[in-house]
């Protein structure tokens, strides 16, 4: 994946900036956009210019040979181009784009934004190309009455909140000589977790004396008793025998587990700088999750009590993603 497409020479990018300013004024942020003549732009493509040239060549040929039929053919090509304007416009008009959502991703992963496309019941929408301003294109067809869910990829290159910017929808169907497109401002954003980078765990442990947590990790030292199952308790700690006897769902409690609740403390990870600190925290959070070790998170602005499970993990990672290193949240 490259960050292509936007490196135009200065005058063009300046023009583009003005164009986008104009587009923004016309199309405010929205969750759902209906394409119509207010937000569709249309212009001949490069192929269209070639067709223009071809028509001119035929005109020259027809004029020099005083051949009316060749002239008529030349005019036919021009007319085709004009007719194509309407066909190309009709191929996009009436399309509705609705943002469905996006799953959080790690830095340098690809965020897939889910969109829902729908259109008129009796109209087909052919050869649609959809991409974020800085993303890779995806192509679709939409047949009459169909409601299509599509995923538009965008590289998440920075931790935090990824706002994808403008969405380009374009099509040159049917003849490729006219390009019809729109830039829509969709109200959506993806949470981008820090990239997990392995590094040593800070030594002044707040989680008990025994050293390496990676090696042991079962956390099954001494059976302590049962307690009622709470969502998020590890599955392997469930007292299946009790469950089988239909006595209810219990979790086994272990002394070690209770004692060794550990904290990922922002202040203790001081040997890392900036984003690296978050990356390390992220790595350890994922690690504890994978070994079923309850863990808590302590950030300058937020504390999450030790726990384990999918919801907890999401909480922790989102908090990491949203942390503004300079204070506050993103």
């Amino acid at each position: 994946m490259s960050k292509q497409k936007e490196d135009f020479p200065a005058p063009i990018s300046a023009l583009q900036k003005r164009f986008f300013k104009w587009v923004d004024k016309r199309n405010p942020m929205a969750k759902e956009v209906l394409l119509n003549r207010k937000n569709l732009y249309i212009f001949p493509s490069l192929t269209g210019l070639c067709l223009f040239a071809l028509s001119f060549i035929l005109w020259l040929l027809g004029t020099s040979y005083q051949n009316n039929l060749v002239l008529a053919l030349s005019y036919l090509l021009l007319s085709l181009m004009i007719v194509a304007i309407f066909h190309t416009y009709a191929n996009l008009a009436g399309l509705t784009i609705k943002i469905l959502g996006v799953k959080p991703v790690f830095v340098n992963d690809i965020a897939h934004f889910s969109l829902q496309l729908s259109g008129h019941r009796h109209r087909n929408y052919e050869n649609l190309m959809v991409r974020w301003r800085q993303g890779e294109p995806a192509c679709f067809d939409l047949q009459g009455g169909q409601i299509l869910s599509v995923q538009i990829p965008l590289l998440a290159n920075k931790r935090g909140i990824l706002r994808p910017g403008k969405l380009l929808i374009e099509s040159a169907f049917p003849l490729g000589v006219i390009r019809c497109w729109t830039w829509v401002n969709l109200q959506t954003s993806a949470v981008v977790f820090p990239q997990p980078i392995k590094g040593p765990f800070p030594t002044q442990l707040s989680r008990g004396e025994t050293g390496e947590q990676g090696s042991g990790g079962q956390g099954t030292d001494d059976f302590d008793g049962l307690r009622v199952y709470r969502a998020g308790d590890p599955i392997k700690h469930i007292a299946w025998k009790h469950y089988a006897r239909e006595q209810g769902l219990y979790s086994k409690q272990y002394t070690a587990q209770l004692q060794r609740d550990c904290w990922l403390n922002w202040d203790e990870f001081s040997l890392y700088q900036g984003e690296q600190r978050l990356s390390a925290l992220c790595y350890w959070a994922l690690h504890f999750e994978s070994i079923q070790q309850p863990y808590g998170l302590s950030l300058p602005n937020k504390q999450i009590k030790p726990n384990i499970g999918e919801q907890h993990r999401l909480n922790v990672l989102t908090s990491l993603a949203r942390l503004n290193i300079d204070g506050g949240t993103l």
Partner: protein, 662 residues
């Protein structure tokens, strides 16, 4: 992650099922061109198709650059050999077709597909350089439809039924055609921009510069139309008066008549005598015959040949500066020869017009001399000669072969001949009798089509006759054939010949069943209209048409009128489609949408499912300065909904309209 469709999309490759469309489109387009080009191009086409098929089946690779270069060099060498270095249109079209074919071997991306389509359109245009008939145009329309369909399939990303594709392609074409017609009619026409190379392979048709016995006999056997004529006046000359003069032949070598090598162009065109003379005005649509001479009735005094330069010679012939390579439409005004000033013949001209080659045709010369001695006056000699023909001569398309003294053989032994035999021998007799005489070739008569009011003059109407100089009168036409077969002149050639000969003229078209002949006449009329209104539509006709339609041809006028047409069409659209929708909304809906617009300024949009009251609550919390207005609006909306007093609705609408703006 990527499905196959995406791969085709992103690599911009052509889907396999669409490849076939391109191949078919190419085949349809080049077929008529291949007929005009050397045979070996067929072989190259077949080979390329086979190779491309193998690539498609995965059994061969795309050709490397070396093999492509080798094929190209071989083909260029082939073209050079075929055309012997004569770089006319055919060679260029041949090269175009070759590159078109060879492009098949590179066809994989969308760009290549587009190139195929674009060259395809050029190939359709090239086809028009060779043939411009109605059939060719219909074929070209089909080619365009296939090309557009193939073009559209390049951009289609899913598989569609053939019928669906074809209909959508035809729809595009049909929608483009009206616009094309408008452009065709109003776009300004220019004359040729530069001298263009000619098509060199096409044969000359019609008369050549010489006339030997049997020449016209073979010409009348060919089919085809020489030209078509419309008389612009109310009265038309009778068929027997329609002598279309093309060439005057003055030199005779005993067998063959030729044009004077150095024509004595005093170049004073015939001038009408002072006073009112009656002119015959007519318009001729001449098919391209690749000779410079144009046909007209005697004597043309005014001619308008449009972009082609022409002049009227002192002989009363209309001649173009250059051979006629395209169809030409021209108007001529002719006057009765008697109404033109008589130029006296100089003694040199007189001498030239009465010479005969020494030693040839002694019997004929002797006969003429006796006539001259006994009869004296030219009129009497002419009458005598015609009576001589009338006795026992026989008009036939298949006369016996003549010996060295062709005139003697014809006059005294075979006595069977076609018009050139009569014209030639009559001229010889006149010259021998010291009357200046010359042979004129052209066409006589024609077929009148009442439905479209034109005369169709076919090659079968080719004819030869004589003109003699009579002192005090000038040149006078004498047609010896009419002395033998008066039907030839009065009813046309198909009525003058015996059945066996009839089946030979115009390749047997005259002995075809009647319904077929009728059909052929209808088609000829269609061709005439086609040629006259479409193929010959030029700046002059455009002026006339625009003047008729719009009262002028100035660009601003045409532009203004089209602007008016387009705006009235848009007006109709607004009145019939948009306005009803707009009017269908209730006043409350209108004020609501106005309110929604106002709210866009406050950076908040009412969702479809949101009631007005809910939205007012939301807006009020977001924009505290609007809180009061919001609360009022919310209350009003509830009141309008649950307290159905007219007054409440009115109040709500005013409140919606007067909602504070930013």
């Amino acid at each position: 992650m990527q499905n196959p469709q995406d791969i085709f999309q992103q690599q911009k490759l052509i889907r396999h099922d669409n490849l076939l469309w391109l191949l078919v489109a190419q085949g349809v387009v080049i077929l008529p061109l291949l007929m005009q080009l050397p045979m070996w191009l067929w072989v190259i086409w077949g080979g390329s198709l086979y190779w491309r098929w193998k690539i498609y089946a995965g059994q061969r690779q795309f050709p490397g650059s070396i093999s492509k270069l080798a094929i190209s060099i071989a083909a260029i060498a082939g073209l050079l050999l075929t055309y012997q270095g004569a770089f006319g249109v055919e060679a260029m079209v041949g090269f175009l077709v070759f590159t078109f074919i060879i492009k098949l071997l590179e066809l994989r991306s969308r760009k290549d597909g587009l190139l195929i389509i674009f060259i395809g359109f050029i190939a359709v245009a090239a086809q028009f350089l060779f043939i411009q008939s109605i059939w060719a145009t219909l074929y070209a329309a089909v080619s365009c439809m296939v090309l557009i369909t193939a073009w559209k399939t390049i951009y289609a990303t899913r598989e569609l039924a053939v019928k669906h594709k074809l209909t959508s392609g035809s729809i595009l074409l049909l929608q483009a055609i009206p616009l094309m017609l408008v452009m065709f009619v109003v776009m300004p026409r220019l004359g040729p921009l530069w001298h263009t190379p000619l098509l060199n392979q096409q044969a000359q048709t019609g008369f050549s510069e010489t006339l030997s016995p049997g020449d016209i006999g073979s010409l009348v056997q060919s089919t085809g139309t020489a030209f078509r004529v419309t008389f612009l006046d109310d009265s038309t000359p009778r068929q027997s008066e329609l002598y279309w003069r093309g060439l005057i032949l003055e030199n005779f070598d005993g067998r063959t008549w030729t044009r004077p090598r150095h024509p004595h162009f005093t170049d004073i065109a015939p001038i009408a005598k002072q006073g009112d003379v009656e002119t015959v005005n007519y318009e001729v649509l001449m098919e391209a015959h690749r000779y410079p001479w144009l046909f007209s009735l005697a004597n043309p005094i005014k001619a308008n040949t449009g972009a082609v330069r022409s002049r009227i010679t002192s002989n009363g012939l209309l001649v173009a500066r250059e051979p006629l390579n395209t169809r030409l439409q021209y108007q001529v005004a002719s006057v009765n020869p008697r109404d033109t000033l008589i130029h006296e013949l100089s003694s040199q001209q007189r001498e030239q017009l009465t010479t005969l080659p020494e030693g040839f045709n002694p019997k004929a010369v002797a006969l003429a001399k006796t006539w001259r001695n006994t009869l004296g006056s030219p009129d009497a000699i002419i009458a005598k000669a015609l009576a001589f023909y009338h006795q026992d001569f026989y008009y036939t398309l298949s006369p016996p072969l003549l010996g060295e003294n062709s005139v003697d053989d014809f006059l005294f032994s075979s006595k069977q001949g076609f018009c050139e035999h009569f014209a030639s021998s009559f001229t010889v007799l006149m010259r021998a009798a010291d009357i200046p005489a010359r042979v004129v070739v052209g066409y006589q008569g024609g077929r009148y089509d009442a439905s479209e009011n034109y005369w169709s003059i076919r090659q079968a109407d080719a004819h030869a006759w004589t003109e003699v100089w009579l002192t005090g009168i000038g040149w006078q036409r004498v047609d010896p054939t009419s002395a033998v077969a008066p039907q030839r002149v009065e009813q046309g050639i198909d009525n003058a010949l015996q059945a066996a000969d009839r089946s030979r003229i115009a390749a047997g078209q005259f002995s075809a069943p009647q319904w077929l002949t009728h059909l052929r006449y209808r088609f000829d009329a269609a061709n005439y209209l086609w040629s006259r209104w479409v193929l010959s539509y030029d700046a002059q006709q455009q002026n006339q048409l625009l003047k008729q339609l719009f009262g002028g041809k100035e660009p601003w006028r045409v532009g203004l009128i089209f602007l008016a047409i387009i705006s009235s069409l848009m007006g109709c659209y607004i009145a019939l489609v948009i306005r009803p929708k707009w009017q269908a909304r209730s006043p409350l809906q209108k004020s609501l949408s106005q309110f929604d617009k106002t709210c866009q300024q406050w950076k908040l949009q009412r969702a479809d499912h949101e009631t007005l009251a809910q939205f007012c609550l939301r807006l009020g919390t977001k924009q505290p300065q609007l809180l009061e207005a919001c609360q009022r609006l919310g209350a009003l909306s509830q009141a309008a909904l649950y307290d159905p007093k007219e007054d409440n609705q009115q109040q709500l609408m005013t409140a919606l309209k007067r909602f504070p703006k930013e």
